[in-house]
Amino acid sequence: MDNNELIEKINQALADEFEIEVEQITPSASVKDTLELDSLSLVDLIARMEAVTGVKIPGSDATKIRTFQDLYDYLAERV
């Protein structure tokens, strides 16, 4: 899977999980604001990313991810 495929997969999974339009997800956008994450739904982000990429994001790392680009980079390095 190349990087573009990975990003597409991540975006689609997040759009499905959090019921937003995939167009709302841009690299510089805030993950927390775009997905309206709170401490509970952050758990769903971690679970969904694990299901899609096989990468488990520890909670301590998840809270450091600000933008979608941060998320793509984090997962691309570990996938």
């Binding site: 509970l40 739904s41 758990v43 769903d44 971690i46 679970a47 488990k56």
Partner: protein
């Protein structure tokens, strides 16, 4: 019952195998339709019996936000639909709920599927985070009341009643007691039951279910000599209980009055009911209702289509009513056993029949046994006006609830 505060029913809503609105359910009762099907998936899972009530899944996407739906197992979704309809039926608005302390007592006694999903995840992944945020809230026995309370912003008592197959009936009885005693003016009461196979797998395992799989609609045959077990079913049913004064003040439509609630424990066997416990529950409900047995126009029996259960209930009813000709039926002949929901749904079924002037047929009652022969059990629809019914619900461990409700 103490008449200090009269308790009336001002709203009803239901999501059941007989329909998803009061009108649909009324018609199903009138026509004597069965809601029971053969589910091939259960056979593949190793079930003795693949029979079940069929209940469609509500589509709540676009109705409730993800942030609410993620915490709702199937029975909470059914309960949401039933409760939304009941509140609308009662004319209760968001503004009313925001400015009054409306209570919530709902019967629920399991949430198997979310528990199994979470355990599967933990075993497979060795990681609890991957269960997701909804798992804990979906898994708890109080999942229905915690969800309904947050969705409808209810500010009164917020409590799940777990009384096995009498849960829904106890919820209504206890709600009535709170209103009678002036502790609540309005209580949303009901019962919910998950329908997924996992919820009843171990129940199937103790040979409690009918295996008449070649004739699904004939499998549930309460009081019939040839019954061979119950058929599991589910959904949700909600009634709005309110003080008479509140209902009059609001100008609300009043369906009927909860006259009496009786309860008892058997103090006996965990699965086999006896006669004495149910008899005491019936007698208590009638006594507290302040009526004579002769005033009862219809008895909605608990009868689930098991041998010992129906036999002992028939004995208990006969011990109370004797040779009086009061129609006794079990609507489980149409629905199967709606378990945690049944006590609430059967109040709605009985109310719809009372309002409609008919008694739905006790399906598949072809031959009586020694005990059911002593009761008047119609196998065909009876057109009859009646103004008081008694509804029985009994559960594992010997928990009994009886309600006496009067037409208004």
């Amino acid at each position: 019952m103490d008449k200090a505060n009269r308790v009336v029913i001002t709203g009803m809503g239901i999501w059941s195998c007989l329909g998803y609105s009061l009108d649909e359910v009324r018609e199903s009762l009138y026509e004597g339709r069965s809601g029971i099907i053969f589910d091939p998936a259960r056979k593949e899972m190793g079930f003795r019996s693949a029979l079940t009530g069929y209940v469609k899944q509500p589509q709540l996407k676009g109705v409730l936000p993800r942030s609410m739906r993620v915490y709702m197992p199937e029975q909470a979704q059914y309960a949401y639909c039933a409760t939304k309809d009941a509140l609308d039926d009662a004319g209760i608005t968001e503004e009313y709920l925001a400015s009054h302390e409306v209570g919530l007592l709902y019967g629920n006694d399991s949430s198997a599927l979310p528990v199994i999903k979470a355990i599967d995840t933990i075993r497979e992944k060795n990681d609890t985070t991957l269960c997701g945020s909804g798992a804990i809230f979906q898994s708890m026995n109080s999942t229905v009341t915690m969800n309904l309370d947050c969705i409808f912003k209810l500010k009164g008592i917020n409590l799940t009643i777990s009384g096995a197959c009498a849960s829904g009936s106890h919820a209504i009885g206890l709600g009535a007691l709170l209103i009678q005693n002036g502790l609540q003016e309005m209580v949303v009461c009901g019962g919910a039951q998950e329908v997924n196979p996992y919820a009843v797998g171990s129940f199937d395992g103790i040979s409690a279910f009918s295996t008449r799989e070649d004739e699904p609609t004939k499998a549930s045959r309460p009081f019939d000599r040839d019954r061979d077990g119950l058929v599991p079913s589910g959904g949700a049913a909600t009634v709005i209980l309110e003080s008479y004064e509140s209902a009059v003040r609001r100008g609300a439509k009043i369906y009927g009055e909860v006259l009496g609630y009786g309860f008892s424990g058997n103090g006996d066997h965990i699965s086999s009911p006896n006669v004495d416990g149910p008899r005491r529950s019936l007698e208590m409900a009638i006594k507290r209702a302040g009526i004579s047995v002769d005033e009862i126009g219809y008895i909605n029996a608990h009868a689930t289509s098991t041998h010992v259960g129906d036999t002992n209930e028939a004995k208990a009813i006969y011990a109370v009513i004797g040779d009086r000709k009061i129609e006794v039926t079990s609507t489980k002949s149409q629905t199967g056993h709606e378990m945690w929901m049944a006590g609430a749904s059967e109040v709605i079924y009985s109310m719809l029949m009372m309002k409609g002037g008919f008694i739905a047929p006790n399906l598949n009652f072809c031959n009586p046994d020694e005990d059911s022969a002593k009761l008047l059990i119609p196998s065909e629809r009876v057109m009859k006006k009646f103004d008081i019914f008694l509804s029985n619900s009994f559960g594992f461990g010997g928990t009994n609830s009886s309600l006496v409700i009067k037409n208004m």
